[in-house]
């Protein structure tokens, strides 16, 4: 049985841990609220844009725009969206699992320190790594996307895919691989999007011929890059919401564990104290008995 002093020391250290995790939980909770808000409010926009694109894509030949052409895939381009800091449960590990399943040659782009560390450690071909602030300014994501799109049009990579934790709710974040370019299966993707947002944004079917102003080509040229930027931006927002949710849940678990441990330790401490007192009384009584 450890001495009362040892137990007292442990109690103190566990208490400190609990205090820290509690503070971190609160911080994550407030950040989570903002991030979730941002991720959810952007969804109608993304859905509408996808629906516009689908009506566009259904009416044009795929050779009209480089983003529509499906090339034989030699090198995949993968954007891995992770967190900068740890302590967020299995969030990053789940993403890394998806990455290790990729056997084809691929070039990687990382958002978040954890991701770039992982890619460097596993000696994968990392082209660039970025960090994005918590508030996710559109400009930061845009410069990342522009680099990827540039490599895509140059033929350095043949796809653009994003690996990110999709935000479902506070408790559930599912790691996903989302293909962004080339654009295919748009209909399927929109149906999925409408599903996941619960909105009735099903693509409007209108078979009549569609007019494009100022013309098909300019509209395509304007909408395509815009769509890619916005879409990836939305994915990053979703990843941020996931990060803070996961961190909050992880911290809450840690706090609860610390509380349980503290209860057990307090019990042990009281037991030890009690037995020490009993021991002392016994000794005094024995001493008195011997002298009398």
């Amino acid at each position: 049985m450890p001495s009362t002093r040892d137990i007292r020391r442990r109690i103190k250290s566990v208490k400190n841990t609990r205090q820290i995790t509690k503070a971190m939980e609160l911080v994550a909770a407030s950040k989570m609220k903002k991030a979730q808000q941002a991720a959810l409010s952007g969804r109608p926009y993304a859905t509408l844009m996808a629906s516009m694109l689908s009506s566009l894509a259904a009416r044009v030949d795929e050779s009209q725009h480089p983003f529509l052409v499906e090339r034989p895939v030699k090198t995949r381009g993968i954007l891995l969206v992770t967190t900068d800091k740890g302590l967020c449960g299995p969030l990053n590990a789940n993403l890394f699992k998806l990455v290790t399943e990729i056997k084809e040659p691929a070039k990687y782009y990382a958002i978040g320190r954890k991701g770039s560390q992982f890619l460097a450690r596993t000696k994968r071909d990392m082209v660039a790594s970025f960090q994005v602030h918590d508030r996710v300014p559109f400009g930061e994501v845009r410069s990342i996307v522009e680099l990827m799109v540039k490599n895509f049009t140059e033929g350095l990579i043949d796809t653009i895919e994003v690996i990110y934790p999709r935000f479902t709710n506070t408790l559930i974040q599912t790691p996903r691989v989302r293909p962004v370019l080339p654009l295919r299966n748009l209909k399927e993707f929109i149906a999925h999007l409408a599903d996941s947002t619960g909105s009735s944004q099903a693509p409007i079917s209108d078979d009549r011929e569609m007019l494009f102003e100022p013309g098909l080509r300019p509209v395509l040229d304007a909408l395509m890059p815009f769509y890619v930027n916005r879409h990836i931006f939305q994915l990053v927002l979703s990843a941020k919401a996931s990060e803070h949710s996961a961190r909050m849940v992880a911290m809450k678990t840690a706090k609860d564990n610390a509380s349980n441990l503290l209860d057990d330790l307090t019990l042990d401490y009281n037991k030890a104290r009690q037995s020490a007192i009993t021991q002392e009384i016994l000794e005094i009584a024995a001493a008195q008995f011997a002298t009398s």
Binding site: S41, G42, P44, Y45, L48, M49, S51, M52, S55, L56, F138, G139, R142, S143, E146, I204, S205, D206, R208, E209, M210, L211, F212, E213, P214, P218, V219, A222, L223, R230
Partner: protein
């Protein structure tokens, strides 16, 4: 047959209602949309968007973006949108000044940033134009 108008920005769904007709500012000039319009996909320019509903005219100011008309549903996708009554000249002028100041040091900015700032200026000019014309 009624027309449904929906205006969506990255921040929120700004407008969603059944209307009689709408005038949208596009790159090619203003276009009026009535029920039964042919399917159309067009680029929206920063400017005033007028909604006719029950004999009344509502004014909104939108930023650059896209509009889609299909099956009597008008969807406007834009960077920013604001209702006419909610425009505060002071705030707009302030925002415009900030953007213009930032644009003055143009050489040091990235092209993407310049584009964003110019978008703000155009949106501000459109807001001020609408507000001042009404007086």
């Amino acid at each position: 047959m009624p027309l449904v108008l929906e205006i969506v920005t990255p921040a929120a769904r700004v407008y969603s209602d059944t209307i009689d007709s709408v005038v949208i500012p596009t790159l090619e000039g203003e276009i009026g949309i009535l029920p039964g319009h042919i399917p159309l996909l067009t680029q929206v320019d920063a400017g005033e968007l007028r909604v006719m509903k029950g004999g009344k005219v509502e004014g909104l100011v939108v930023g650059a973006g896209f509009a889609q008309i299909a099956k009597d549903k008008v969807s406007v996708l834009t960077e920013s949108a604001i209702e006419e009554e909610k425009i505060d000249e002071n705030i707009v002028e302030e925002a415009m000044r900030r953007a213009e100041d930032a644009l003055r040091g143009k050489e040091s900015l990235e092209p993407a940033e310049i584009e964003r700032l110019e978008g703000i200026v155009r949106f501000s000019v459109a807001q001020l134009g609408v507000k001042r014309r009404r007086r």
